[in-house]
Symmetry: C2
């Protein structure tokens, strides 16, 4: 953002996808930190861990045995938050409103190798992960009662990940979640008004400014969105307006995998640590409607702020009022852009 | 909630204040936890700590010296996220939108005694805290450019609190934050349609059901809202429709303080630990409009789930889709209702 006054002073920025505002306090980066320090877990090195319930051949808590998988492998979560067998029920009593919710939760192991993470996997192997996501999106999306599919990864124990084996999750369900309702609405309004994609036009603008771009390849761009909340939040965006991952060509899958590797590598290089985050793909609902307005994107919400041990807390003010950040999106993009795209652990 | 089917199965509940939904998975409480364990900090015992920048008589980072205060004491935050001297600026360039934001951030020390927390303070001393909040709400609210005042407390280092001295914060600002915009809108719609307060009618319904009520006194009720997100989230609600804390009578201030002590004591008794949370008061904006629709309330968002060391992570699915919980609001209310209202440390 070229505006000098806002760059140096507290201001609010508007999120075009959610229609909500965030508070930015650029002058506050010098605040000393006397609070909680996270512990750094020593990087695991074993390719196979006999106590890991995700490693090939091991028995899970419910007695199922994992196959000797050699490629990405998915299965129904043993502790699914959503089940497919829920009786339909609507509850409306005075001011209490609820409805039953059916769904399917899956776990996606990215690799049989317990010691890996996305940034240290070869691009070809990340492509296999993307292809499995596509397969799941198609299969789950074809189930008549499934109207939304959330693909995500929680990485690192400070992001609530209870197992270091490289894996993500998919929660598919009847209802369209709050975040997706907002993003659908704002993209649809723009589409109807301008006959153009909101994120296509946004991407054009970002590519002309350059200051929030981190990396670019033939089909994808990685950037820090203007309205980013988390200190080093990023978004991977296809250049072409593609509503969902099943529309990607084989070539685009390749460029998507390369961009995932690029961004997660810069993350690890930032504090020379296995960088924790929650990542997720936002894409068109599978509710049978034509979602021409949708431009899919993958977002990374990483908590670390100053070092491998000091994170940003989204508490108090942020829970009750607005999200808040100190370093600006432009500063974060600059830092990430200048990190090598070769992983620090590779000598 | 009396509905047996929903009680046992995954369902979504509607938040009447924000207009958003949350996902509840009651069947999932038996999930084993192999993830991150928080460390328990040993309770501090010193009434005065010479290294604490909030203790009376001590020098702060910016050189200011705290007075020898004997009652709750407030001052402008040395590292304010909002400043009052920001030049006005509006930025609108293509799809980028921002505006400058003026404000005032204050720190409120609840007690000169470094070793205390709200639950172990006498009710009379909590009343002094409430009275200081009222004074600040009035004074800050009378500044013409201040349209919203967020009073909150982050308690415990897992809630990003960097100093154990009992204290909270106040962030007062020009704009009305996202959460308050939503709550104003939903209360206003209800008020215009029904000529009654949304939360008054809700409270009547809760008092007739009883199953989410934790405690009640002459002027206040503490309950787990039907749409609660955090495992042991609670709300303290005045019985009378009062829009903001400056409208409380002296008697009501007393009952409010007593209810704060009651709820925070039950929290500490739950896992026999100094229970971490973010708490905040949502009340009428100070934008000069008549906010008859507003019914103020104080909410507690505590992260602990199963014990003093295992918290609920709002990550992945929750960040990208909908908030999610396992234990139901009714189970949480039942547990809290059955905890003694006398603090476990008092023998
Ligand atoms: O101001 P503090 O206590 O240093 O900071 C804490 O509360 C603030 C307001 O909720 C947050 O923005 C910070 O992330 C948190 O660490
Ligand atoms: O399913 P997991 O990995 O055990 O659990 C993790 O991810 C879930 C989905 O984001 C969250 O609901 C849990 O709080 C978190 O600990």
């Amino acid at each position: 953002m070229m505006n000098k006054i806002l760059n140096d002073n507290s201001h609010r920025r508007y999120n075009i996808l959610t229609g909500e505002w965030i508070l930015v306090s650029p002058h506050r980066t010098k605040r000393p930190w006397q609070g909680k320090q996270e512990q750094i877990k020593i990087a695991k090195s074993k390719s196979y861990d006999e106590n890991c319930y995700l490693c090939p051949g091991n028995t899970r808590a419910n007695g199922s045995v994992n196959p000797q998988y050699t490629k990405p492998f998915s299965f129904v979560n043993d502790y699914s938050a959503l089940l497919s067998s829920v009786p339909e029920e609507h509850y409306n009593k005075g001011l209490l409103r609820a409805k039953s919710e059916k769904g399917i939760c899956k776990v996606v192991c990215f690799s049989p190798d317990h010691s890996l993470t996305l940034p240290v996997m070869p691009i070809d192997d990340i492509m296999e992960v993307v292809n499995l996501w596509i397969k799941e999106y198609k299969e789950l999306g074809s189930i008549s009662y499934i109207n939304h599919i959330q693909i995500f990864e929680n990485k690192g124990d400070i992001m609530g990940c209870s197992n270091p084996h490289p894996h993500g999750q998919i929660w598919a369900q009847e209802s369209i979640p709050v975040e997706i309702v907002k993003k659908t609405q704002n993209q649809l309004e723009y589409w109807q008004k301008n006959g153009a994609g909101l994120l296509s036009d946004y991407l054009d603008q970002e590519l002309s400014h350059k200051e929030r771009i981190i990396a670019e390849n033939e089909s994808f761009v990685a950037l820090v969105p203007y309205w980013a909340i988390w200190p080093y939040e990023t978004m991977i965006l296809p250049k072409r307006k593609i509503g969902s991952i099943d529309k990607l060509t084989a070539k685009e899958v390749n460029f998507f995998a390369a961009m995932i590797k690029d961004v997660t590598t810069r993350y690890d290089n930032l504090f020379q640590t296995s960088f924790p985050y929650s990542a997720g793909i936002h894409q068109a609902p599978t509710d049978g409607n034509n979602h021409d307005e949708w431009h899919f994107h993958m977002s990374f919400y990483p908590p670390l702020l100053r070092s491998a041990t000091v994170k940003k807390f989204m508490v108090g003010y942020e829970m009750f009022a607005d999200p808040q950040r100190d370093i600006t999106a432009e500063q974060a993009a600059d830092t990430l852009r200048n990190k090598p795209s070769k992983h620090y652990s590779i000598t």
